[in-house]
C-alpha cells in the first residue's frame, strides 16, 4: 500500500500546485503582448526572427506601443498543434494579454485563431499562411501581417502564363500550405491559358525527391512549380540541379523555396525565380534603415520573417493610437488597425476586409546569398478571402 500512499500524495500535491499561482496581478498603464512562437524545433529560427522584428519596432518607439510601455508574455509553441489551444489559452486567460502574436505553423495558428475568436482577443498572425485564417475562419479579432498562401502563388501563376509557358508540373508536400499554394498557382496559370499537366505530392516532411525528378524528366513540362520551405526546399533545389533538370526545365515557386536556406543549397539555387511579398535589394529608404538597424541589433541580416514581426508591431501600434492608447477599447483598436496603411520595409500595404495584407508581390532572382528583386509582378494583390462572411 506504500505505493498507493505515494500516488495519492503526489496527486494532492500536483493539484494543489496547479491552483497556486492563480492571481498573477495585472499591471496597469502597460500594454501586454503575448508572443506565441516556435522557439524550439524545426521553425525555431523563424520564431526568433519574428520576435526580433517585433521587438525592434518596439525599441524604435522607446519600448512603447501606442504610448504605453510594452510588457511581453512569451510561450514556446513548439510548432505543436496538439498543445496550441492550451498555449493560446495561457496567454489569453492567464496572462490576460492585449494581443496575441503568433505563429509560424498554420495548424497552430488555426487553433490560436479559434481561441482569439472565442475569447474576443486581438490576434496578429506574423507568418502562417493558411488561406482559411483570413477566409472561412476570418474574424474581426484576427489580423495577419504576412500573406496568404494564395498570394505569392497566384502571382507566380499570372507571371508564368504571361511569359508564354504552356505546361507545368507541380510538386509539393501533401499538407495544407503546399496544396493551397499549388491551387493558387493553378487558378491563375490556367486562367492565363496554361495547363498543369501533372500534380505530384509527397508526405510531409519526406525529402526523398528522386522519384519525382525522374517523373518530371519523363513528362518534360515547360516548367516546374513547387512549394517547399526551409530544409526540404534546400534539398529539392539541390537535387533538382544535381539531376541536371535545372538547365532544361526552369523551376519556379513561392519565395519560401529560397528564403533562409540559400547557404544550405551551396549555389544550386543561383538564378532561380520566385515570388514573395519581400525581397532583397528593394533599395527604398524605409527598407535600408530597417535592415541596418536590424543587423546592428541582432548581428544577422533580417529576412521576410523579421519584416512580418516588425509589421505586426506596426499594425498593433496603429490600432492602439487610434484608440488613444487604450487596448481595452477593442472596437477602436480593430477599426484603427483595419484602416491603417502600414509603412512596411516591404513597401506600404493596407489590409483587406478579411484583415490580410493587400500588398505588392515581387518577382525575385537568386543572386549569391540574396533574393534580389526583379520586378513587381502583381501590384496590390488582394487575397479573395473566399468564405469570409465578415
Amino acid at each position: 500500500m506504500d505505493k498507493q500512499m505515494k500516488g495519492v500524495g503526489r496527486l494532492v500535491l500536483g493539484a494543489a500546485m496547479m491552483v497556486v499561482g492563480l492571481g498573477a496581478a495585472q499591471a496597469q498603464e502597460k500594454v501586454k503582448v503575448g508572443l506565441m512562437l516556435p522557439y524550439t524545433g524545426t521553425y525555431a529560427a523563424l520564431g526568433n526572427a519574428i520576435t526580433n522584428g517585433f521587438k525592434q519596432y518596439v525599441e524604435e518607439n522607446g519600448g512603447k506601443l501606442g504610448g504605453r510601455v510594452v510588457e511581453y508574455a512569451v510561450v514556446d509553441d513548439e510548432s505543436n498543434p496538439a498543445k496550441a489551444t492550451e498555449n493560446a489559452r495561457k496567454l489569453v486567460s492567464r496572462d490576460k494579454v492585449d494581443v496575441v502574436v503568433g505563429t509560424v505553423h498554420s495548424g497552430v495558428a488555426l487553433a490560436m485563431a479559434k481561441v482569439a475568436r472565442d475569447s474576443k482577443t486581438l490576434m496578429i498572425v506574423p507568418n502562417a499562411g493558411a488561406n482559411d485564417i483570413t477566409g472561412p475562419l476570418c474574424s474581426p479579432y484576427v489580423f495577419r501581417s504576412s500573406f496568404s498562401a494564395w498570394q505569392p502563388s497566384y502571382a507566380m501563376g499570372e507571371a508564368l502564363a504571361k511569359r508564354g509557358i504552356k505546361t507545368v508540373a507541380t510538386v509539393t508536400w501533401k499538407y495544407s500550405f503546399g496544396e493551397e499554394s499549388v491551387a493558387g498557382f493553378k487558378e491563375a496559370f490556367e486562367k492565363g491559358g496554361g495547363k498543369v499537366v501533372k500534380e505530384m505530392t509527397l508526405p510531409f516532411p519526406n525529402v526523398e525527391f528522386q522519384p519525382f525528378l525522374t517523373e518530371i524528366a519523363s513528362v518534360k513540362p515547360d516548367a516546374v512549380f513547387v512549394f517547399f520551405a526551409g530544409a526540404g526546399a534546400a534539398k529539392f533545389v539541390s537535387d533538382y540541379a544535381a539531376a541536371g533538370l535545372k538547365s532544361n526545365i526552369p523551376l519556379y515557386g513561392p519565395g519560401f523555396l529560397t528564403d533562409g536556406n540559400l547557404d544550405a543549397m551551396g549555389g544550386a539555387g543561383e538564378g532561380l525565380l520566385t515570388t514573395l511579398h519581400y525581397a532583397d535589394g528593394l533599395a527604398t529608404d524605409r527598407d535600408s534603415v530597417f535592415r541596418t538597424k536590424y543587423a546592428e541589433a541582432y548581428k544577422i541580416q533580417p529576412d521576410v520573417y523579421a519584416v512580418q514581426g516588425y509589421d505586426a508591431a506596426q499594425m498593433f501600434d496603429a490600432g492602439l493610437k487610434a484608440a488613444g492608447g487604450d487596448p481595452s477599447k477593442k472596437e477602436e483598436v480593430i477599426k484603427g488597425m483595419a484602416a491603417a496603411t502600414i509603412d512596411s520595409p516591404r513597401g506600404a500595404f493596407t489590409l483587406s476586409r478579411a484583415h490580410n495584407p493587400v500588398q505588392d508581390i515581387y518577382l525575385r532572382e537568386v543572386k549569391g546569398s540574396e533574393n534580389v528583386v526583379v520586378e513587381v509582378v502583381s501590384k496590390s494583390l488582394e487575397d479573395p478571402a473566399r468564405g469570409c462572411k465578415m
Binding site: A45, P211, A217, A234, K235, A242, G266
Partner: protein, 288 residues
C-alpha cells in the same frame, strides 16, 4: 512509365534503400544483441549530419570531416554505452523507451544551443561533384552513386566482420544466446560496447554521407528513426541481412509508391510492414 524511367527509378530505389540500410543495420544489431530499444538512434543520424557540417566548415573537406567524424562517433557511442546504456540491459523495455526518448530531447536541445536552428548545406567533395547524363533531360549525380558504393562496401565489410572475425563470432553468439557467450569466457560488456559504438558510428556515417544531399536541419533524426523501425520489423530483429533486404524493399516501395499511388505514398511502407507481420510476425529473416 517508360523503360528508361523505370530503370532510373530502380536506381533511385536502390540508393535510398542502401542509405536506409546503413542506419537500420546499427539499430538492428543493438536490438538483437543487446536487447535494447533505442529511440535515440535517429539522433545519431542527426548528430552525424551536424558533425559533417561543423567539421566540413572547419576543415573545408567532407572527406576530412568524415575521417574525423567516425572516430568521434565511435568514442561518443562508447561513452554513451558506458554512461547510460550499460545500466539498461536488465531493465524493462519501457524504461529503455523512456530513457532514449529523454535523450532525443537532450540531443535536439544541445544541437540548438551549440549549432543553432538554421538549415545548413554541406558541399559535395569536388571530385564527386558531377553528373552522368542518363536521358536528354535527366542526369544522375555521381555523389549519389558514390553513396551507394560506400553502402555496398560497408555491407560487405559488415558481412566479413560478422562471419569471419572473432568479434563477429561473439556478435553471432550474443545474438543467439547471451549466457552461452558468458560461459565461453567472453567479456560480454566489451562486445556490447563495441557493438553499440559501431551502431552509433554507422548511423552517424549515414548522416554524414547524406548531409550534402539532404542538407542539415533540426529534427532530421526522427523521420529516419521511424522508417528504420519499420525496416527492422520487416527484416527481423538482429538480422543484418534482414535489414538489408527490408531496406531495399522499403526503398522500392517508397519510390514506386510515390509514382504509382501518389495518394497513398505516406502509408505504403506501413502497409508493406502489415503484410509482413501477417505473413511472418518475426520478420522475413529472423536472425542471421
Amino acid at each position: 512509365m517508360d523503360f528508361a524511367s523505370f530503370l532510373i527509378q530502380t536506381l533511385n530505389s536502390l540508393q535510398y534503400g542502401l542509405l536506409l540500410f546503413l542506419v537500420a543495420s546499427g539499430l538492428t544489431l543493438v536490438f538483437g544483441i543487446m536487447g535494447i530499444i533505442n529511440l535515440a538512434h535517429g539522433s545519431f543520424y542527426m548528430i552525424g549530419a551536424y558533425l559533417a557540417f561543423v567539421l566540413t566548415s572547419a576543415t573545408g573537406s567532407l572527406m576530412l570531416a568524415i575521417a574525423l567524424g567516425i572516430p568521434l562517433a565511435l568514442v561518443f557511442g562508447a561513452f554513451l554505452e558506458w554512461a547510460l546504456f550499460a545500466h539498461l540491459y536488465k531493465r524493462d523495455h519501457l524504461e529503455q523507451v523512456l530513457l532514449t526518448y529523454g535523450l532525443i530531447l537532450i540531443f535536439e536541445q544541445l544541437r540548438s544551443l551549440l549549432v543553432g536552428d538554421d538549415v545548413h548545406g554541406v558541399a559535395i567533395p569536388a571530385f564527386l561533384d558531377a553528373s552522368i547524363q542518363l536521358t536528354e533531360v535527366m542526369s544522375y549525380p555521381v555523389y549519389r552513386l558514390a553513396i551507394s558504393v560506400v553502402c555496398i562496401v560497408l555491407a560487405v565489410a559488415l558481412y566479413f566482420v560478422i562471419q569471419r572475425t572473432r568479434l563477429g563470432m561473439m556478435i553471432r553468439a550474443g545474438n543467439d544466446d547471451r549466457s552461452m557467450v558468458e560461459s565461453l569466457g567472453i567479456n560480454i560488456n566489451m562486445v556490447y560496447r563495441i557493438v553499440f559504438a559501431l551502431g552509433v558510428a554507422m548511423a552517424a556515417l549515414a548522416g554524414m554521407l547524406a548531409s550534402p544531399i539532404s542538407s542539415v536541419f533540426p529534427n532530421m533524426g526522427s523521420q529516419v528513426l521511424i522508417i528504420s523501425f519499420v525496416i527492422v520489423v520487416i527484416g527481423g530483429i538482429g538480422s543484418v541481412w534482414g535489414a538489408l533486404v527490408a531496406a531495399l524493399i522499403v526503398g522500392f516501395a517508397d519510390t514506386f509508391g510515390k509514382v504509382l499511388v501518389p495518394e497513398l505514398s505516406g502509408i505504403v511502407v506501413y502497409v508493406v510492414m502489415a503484410v509482413v507481420l501477417l505473413w511472418r510476425p518475426e520478420g522475413i529473416l529472423k536472425k542471421g
